[in-house]
Symmetry: C2
Subunit: 426 residues, 2 copies
Amino acid sequence: MMIRVLNGNEKDIINFLKSRQQNENEEIRKKVWDVLKGVKSKGDKAVFDYCKIFDHSEINDKNIMLTNEEISEAYDKVDADFIRIINAAKTNIEEFHKNQIQKPWFMTRSDGSILGQKVMPLDSVGIYVPGGTASYPSSVLMNSIPANLAGVRRIAMATPCKSGIINPYTIVAANECGVHEIYKIGGVHAVAAFAYGTDSVPKVDKIVGPGNIYVATAKKEVFGNVDIDMIAGPSEILIIADENANSKFIAADMMSQAEHDVLASSILLTTSQKLIDEVIIELERQCELLDRKDIILKSLDDYGAAIKVQSIEKAVELSNKIAPEHLEIMVKNPIELLDSIKNAGSIFLGDYSPEPLGDYFAGPNHVLPTGGSAAFFSPLSVDAFIKKSSFIYYSKSGLEKVSDDIQSFAAYEGLSAHGNSIKVRF
Amino acid sequence: MMIRVLNGNEKDIINFLKSRQQNENEEIRKKVWDVLKGVKSKGDKAVFDYCKIFDHSEINDKNIMLTNEEISEAYDKVDADFIRIINAAKTNIEEFHKNQIQKPWFMTRSDGSILGQKVMPLDSVGIYVPGGTASYPSSVLMNSIPANLAGVRRIAMATPCKSGIINPYTIVAANECGVHEIYKIGGVHAVAAFAYGTDSVPKVDKIVGPGNIYVATAKKEVFGNVDIDMIAGPSEILIIADENANSKFIAADMMSQAEHDVLASSILLTTSQKLIDEVIIELERQCELLDRKDIILKSLDDYGAAIKVQSIEKAVELSNKIAPEHLEIMVKNPIELLDSIKNAGSIFLGDYSPEPLGDYFAGPNHVLPTGGSAAFFSPLSVDAFIKKSSFIYYSKSGLEKVSDDIQSFAAYEGLSAHGNSIKVRF
């Protein structure tokens, strides 16, 4: 038995989930600050030094950015089917995200006033892509496609070049999705270069993309100097199932989450004890066939749970408190629960909408709020790559009509120069 | 002569503006952490202790939240005209912000798949309102009205109770705008109470509102645990004017910005040396009539500038690099420049759209990105009080059609359990 069976006590479940949060600590902060300060004061030189120390790579101002030749070489290393598949995924992702494009608007008043809101793309964005086993081409698609749809002029990417090597799939995915610049740098020094700018790496307006606790801490530190996307923690899935649900599917989906990371969490909430028993058998059977069995077992053991609940309503209530990143709903009429879901990153309805469909292919973004932050953060979207400005045009008579009220309001706040700015006009 | 006249050298101007940024430092962080940790571990007790230390107020679990009687008493202390004026402003602010309400949407595919995006209000929000001279009723309006339009169930407000007293205008403004709970706490311990929750102050999903460097640092520290609005710094205005502009209006508007804070910045970019000379005379003349003359003079002296530029195009280019919080455009046909403005919080067009009109009355929000962050942050809006969830429903045939591609994609990423989750379904 490799998964805990909890009863439906809310507090226990939420505490159990919170226990996996990896918090930044003083030591991590200290290291991150040192690197940020180094890059802020010494620019390129610090970046190149850190590349040597952390990545064992000789990076300089000549080789830091991937050349067209290096991009071509990456194409030689991937097969044609990969390019076809990421373009099929890209088509779906674009089709979905196009719906998120916001329009400027204006309103008028009878006194001749016009007010409105402009919508503009960010000028530049830096996408961070981790190296090593966590280097996922799908992550490149999910970050760069909405930036491109927003109209960002300069999309830069940074990914560590470990001992001179970058994953060719990552490079090809970036090039297919219109990334303009690829830098061979990773870690905190990449975040610092994007945030402050160096001679070789111009500053960006916003940094997005996943990363380890050091990268996440660095992003939070530079927030304000640039914008950042949400603070991401370990991944999770929650499945709400009734007695009709298929135990084989549920076990497979829980393990697809668990294989990401030993800190990943997979939780089943169901009204059926029989289903729990069957899922446990399926987990044991299917995991034998999977490459990442060790990670899966450790993740399920530490943060997996099967929870019997009194009713589907109770499961929804508990799910809303947990605010899972991924929520699968496998009940008879899943669409009927859509309204009652208040907190979840992405919602997967029915037996044929497994989480990996959303990770790669269906169209919605797979960059989702984790650790309960779906209560206040949203999936990554075109919204993340735009900014807005409001505008006001008042006619003379329009201003005159409200001039006394504005002067009074200013007086209530004790700001006489505010009042004066209206007064001098009449 | 109390304002520097710079030439149009970009680097000089931008460095000059950056010099006023008040950065958090180690000492401030240390103090902030201590308070955050205190409230996180000791809850109410720590909050009450800090109220005694910082605000000289005896706060306990019985008196921390304003009672209906206390709210009624505040009404007795303000005049009827104040209530009329804030309701007139509220009507305009609501009318403008209603345009920001986003709708859920969905799309279908011919294989029976349905995908879409839900839009939901945050459940709870904490509005921070500074005490003392910086306690502005207009700030209560600008933060609470969009939260209310978004549909936030619980809008809480925290404001320091200095020696037992809260500004009655703030209380009345909050009550008129539908704030549900008013807490007599301020400073870092108020941010901590909102972020972690205590017995007396339940946790919120997001903290918004202005504050000093300690409050701003605390908000950044708790970001991730809750959402926060942008990181706000000192305020600024930039005015683009041609030779037709009115020097009296310009001087008045520069001073309405300068009176906020000695760190506020007021900049004029103009093609006309004659206008610069006239504005300087007007500044000297008008400031004599204003209550906050000392702050105005210090602000203009330190961070005011009049800059002669070669052309209006050059002024726009420079303005886009500065990304001002408030941008006034006083040229012959101001609306013609609207498209070319890429970075600005709020844009005020023409002679009769002075900044105080936007601060109080016109309708757009006065909570705006400062310090150049208009390049990536937007004005506070209904957007700040909602979250989104995506959803995916695929039919069996829909999934089957793409099942090979998803399994291949998973294989490229080395995630066999992802592939397995598709495979077990067919």
